[in-house]
């Protein structure tokens, strides 16, 4: 798992590359738990290279969901592969989280 990030004008973009499993989800959790993350208006997650997400990986997003909402930070996923989207959908997360097809739409949210 590789996490790269860049930020611009109130938007933080995280690019996830690889498999988000129990061990790599710790890395992601550290990124999202940083206090400065909540300073952004929008956190975009680029899932183009995300091949797999385990329940631990989902747990990281779930645990930060409430916090983001409270702080008024929008969490948007984009470029998600079908099989990963399927996992979000089965769990019912597609109704709670904003998942859009492309980066343009994500920026527009």
């Amino acid at each position: 798992m590789k996490i790269t990030q860049h930020s611009s004008a109130g938007t933080l973009t995280l690019i996830l590359d690889g498999e988000l499993d129990a061990s790599s989800s710790v890395l992601l959790d550290t990124e999202l738990a940083k206090p400065e993350t909540l300073q952004f208006q929008k956190v975009l997650i680029n899932c183009k290279q995300l091949n797999y997400i385990s329940s631990a990986g989902l747990g990281v997003f779930i645990s930060h969901l409430q916090q983001f909402q409270d702080a008024g930070v929008k969490l948007v996923f984009f470029n998600m592969q079908d099989k990963v989207y399927n996992v979000f959908e089965i769990l019912g997360l597609d109704t709670l989280m904003t998942i859009v097809p492309s980066e343009e739409e994500a920026t527009a949210v």
């Binding site: 329940s55 631990a56 989902l58 409430q66 089965i90 769990l91 019912g92 709670l96």
Partner: protein, 699 residues
């Protein structure tokens, strides 16, 4: 070797016989009555032959006896040598004095008694020489090379030849006789150089050896003095004995003892060094043995301290151990806590407290001079491994230059040995702890196993088959059944996020929630409301779980309530895998596509909006496949997932079979797919087949 054994067996009697012959032949040459009675004088060659035979017999007999050296007990060998042959010497002196006394009291010209005493003493001398020289042989050949062993055999053979000198009435012409005897003497001197055994004695044993060797030389001197004294006695009737043989043997016996004495004396000053080395090796051995005995840490430290103090011969020492709070002194030797603290403080100031440090001249080091310690040499050896520091050993000596580089390397060995023992002990503790955890996991596994329903509901309406496997000792999957009144059956299946013990706790919790919520509500107004519908159940379960699940954990579940009186079922899917279904009417396999959010994701009342009930009227022959994600997410060697489509295909092929067989076919396919791959997640699979026979409704 029968010949040798035979020879050995007859040596002793032959020796005794030859001595008797010697006695008689000597007596026959006296002027006493015995001579007349014996019809003497007998010819001289009889006496000489008897003498030679006796000497040869005594030496051969002694040669065949067991090695007098037992292991490395050199002092024991010398002591026995002094006790046995020493007694012979005493007997010799005693007999001589007795003979003198008799001569003074009853002066006589009769030579009989004198001849007897002489013959006995000659025998004693020969035995003494044989015993002594064969004891020396043990010492010469101790750890000797084969070359030295061969040399010794030559020495024996050549000495044996000198027995023949007088016997054959032939003496080598002058000066060859001197040359031969002198040459053999030099050979003996050369062999006397083999004194390796002295190195194996410690200081005390060396002193003992010196005294014993002096005593043995005295005993030899007694015999030599006796024979020199009576050589010119008028009463001596016997011909001169085999001088060359006895002389050479006496010379060798004395010279070897003398060389041994010298070597021992010159080795005395170095004995201390050898003993110190010995002590070091022994200390090292003791430390090593402690590891294997698995003693506790205190004992290992105490052992290190004692060994180090003893080996270094330190005048004062202390040992500190470090933990998270700092260093504490655990062992003292002739040093006060105050002095120890001051030295440590000083070393800390110099930032030397964690390194090896050797100072042989404390008086010329400013900081130490101000402490006014009565010591001049200091050595500090930290105890540390690659991972952490354990403590440090401090040793002091009064005189300057008390420690050298070698001391430092010995201490290093001690320190690393100690750290090794300590880490070994810790490893043993950890592995014991692991074993205990393993045992507890086994118990947990057994407990969880007991939570899984063993008896599947049996009815003529349907057919159920189940399969469950955990990836670890305890798992996060669960399923349960509950018969409800009014011909209803509740089936719960679910999966707790995460694996292992935490997940297992939540599984037990879910089972509790299931049984608690599925209680009959007696206040319900209608029959339908007596038991919560699946969506209501999920909402209540969500509330219950919200209070105890950690923030990143969630649970997926599906609850099915089958009403087989009305041939229908209702279910709610809380984020769990879709239900696979074979519709017999449409002859079609599909997944129920319903929405529903997992439990513990939203932790407030709004959850209600995210869960829905789905009603369906089933037909006989319908098949329902319920599973957890461990089934569809199982991977093959190419890291591809088994997937929903493949599962659907399997049901299309097998829907006509019994529930058990459908399950087996799916599992076989799954096993083939993921052959050789480790199991990543828990797997649960339930197959429910609705039956056509409905005997109850027919009545």
């Amino acid at each position: 070797m029968p010949f040798r054994q035979k020879l050995k067996a007859i040596t002793f009697p032959l020796t005794v016989l030859s001595w008797l012959l010697l006695l008689l032949s000597t007596l026959s040459n006296t002027n006493g009555r015995a001579a007349e009675w014996l019809g003497g004088p007998w010819p001289e060659w009889v006496t000489l032959t008897a003498q030679a035979a006796f000497a040869a017999g005594a030496f051969i007999y002694q040669r065949g006896r067991p090695d007098p050296l037992h292991g490395n007990d050199f002092v024991g060998l010398l002591r026995r040598l002094l006790l046995g042959p020493g007694m012979l010497a005493t007997a010799c002196v005693g007999l001589h004095l007795l003979e003198r006394l008799v001569q003074v009291k009853f002066p006589t010209d009769d030579q009989t008694f004198f001849a007897c005493v002489y013959t006995v003493n000659l025998a004693l001398f020969v035995v003494f020489l044989a015993y002594t020289n064969y004891s020396w042989r043990s010492l010469v050949l101790f750890r000797a090379s084969p070359r030295v062993q061969r040399q010794w055999v030559w020495f024996e053979v050549l000495l044996g030849f000198t027995l023949l000198f007088r016997l054959l009435d032939w003496v080598p012409p002058h000066p060859f006789d001197y040359l031969i005897v002198g040459g053999l003497g030099i050979f003996g001197v050369y062999l006397s150089g083999n004194q390796q055994w002295v190195a194996y004695l410690n200081r005390r044993q060396k002193w003992e050896a010196v005294l014993l060797q002096i005593a043995i030389m005295l005993a030899l001197a007694v015999f030599v003095a006796y024979f020199l004294r009576i050589r010119n006695d008028l009463k001596l009737v016997a011909p001169a004995p085999q001088h060359a043989f006895l002389l050479l043997n006496a010379f060798f016996g004395t010279f070897y003892a003398f060389m041994g004495l010298m070597v021992t004396i010159f080795n005395l000053p170095t004995a201390g060094v050898f003993e110190q080395k010995r002590e070091e090796i022994l200390s090292m051995q003791r430390l090593t043995q402690l590891i294997q005995k698995g003693q506790n840490e205190e004992e290992v430290y105490a052992m290190l301290f004692d060994s180090a103090v003893q080996t270094m011969d330190a005048d004062a020492a202390w040992l500190t151990l470090e933990d998270n709070e700092g260093a504490t002194t655990v062992q003292h030797y002739r040093v006060s806590q105050g002095q120890a603290d001051e030295v440590q403080r000083l070393l800390q100031e110099y930032k030397l407290n964690h390194t090896e440090y050797l100072n042989n001249d404390l008086a010329s080091t400013d900081g130490f001079r101000e402490l006014h310690l009565p010591y001049n040499s200091l050595i500090v050896m930290p105890l540390r491994s690659a991972k952490r520091r354990y403590g440090a050993l401090y040793m002091l000596k009064e005189h300057r230059f008390g420690f050298d580089r070698e001391n430092l390397s010995i201490l290093q060995t001690f320190a690393s040995q100690t750290v090794l023992s300590i880490e070994n002990l810790q490893l043993v503790h950890i592995s014991l702890e692991n074993q205990r955890v393993q045992e507890e996991l086994k118990i947990a596994s057994a407990v969880q196993d007991s939570l899984i329903p063993k008896d599947l509901p049996i009815d003529s309406w349907f057919d159920i088959s189940s399969y469950a496997a955990s990836a670890r000792e305890v798992g996060g999957d669960f399923y349960d059944f509950l018969h409800l009144p009014g011909r209803q059956l509740a089936i719960l299946i679910g999966d707790v996020s995460g694996k292992g013990v935490t997940a297992a706790f939540h599984v037990a919790q879910m089972k509790g929630i299931f049984h608690a919520l599925m209680q009959e509500n007696h206040l319900a107004r209608s029959e339908r409301e007596k038991f919560p519908v699946p969506s209501r159940f999920m909402t209540q379960a969500n509330t219950a779980l919200s209070r105890c699940l950690e923030r990143s954990a969630f649970v997926t579940a599906s609850l099915y309530i089958i009403d087989y009186e009305n041939a229908g079922f209702v279910f709610a899917r809380a984020g769990h895998c879709h239900t696979l279904y074979y519709h017999s009417i449409k002859e079609e396999v599909s997944y129920f596509q319903t929405a529903g959010l997992g439990l513990g994701i939203i932790r407030n009342d709004s959850y209600e909006k995210h869960i829905k009930n789905q009603f369906y009227d089933y037909n006989p022959g319908d098949v329902m496949v319920i599973y957890t994600d461990g089934i569809v997410e199982a991977r093959n060697a190419d890291q591809e997932e088994y997937g929903e489509q493949r599962l659907l295909d399997m049901l299309e092929q097998t829907f006509s079979l019994e529930a058990d067989e459908i399950k087996e076919q799916i599992l076989n396919d799954l096993a083939q797919f993921s052959a050789g791959q480790p199991m990543h997640d828990d797997q649960t699979l339930l197959v429910v087949k609705f039956k056509s026979s409905q005997p109850d409704t027919l009545n």
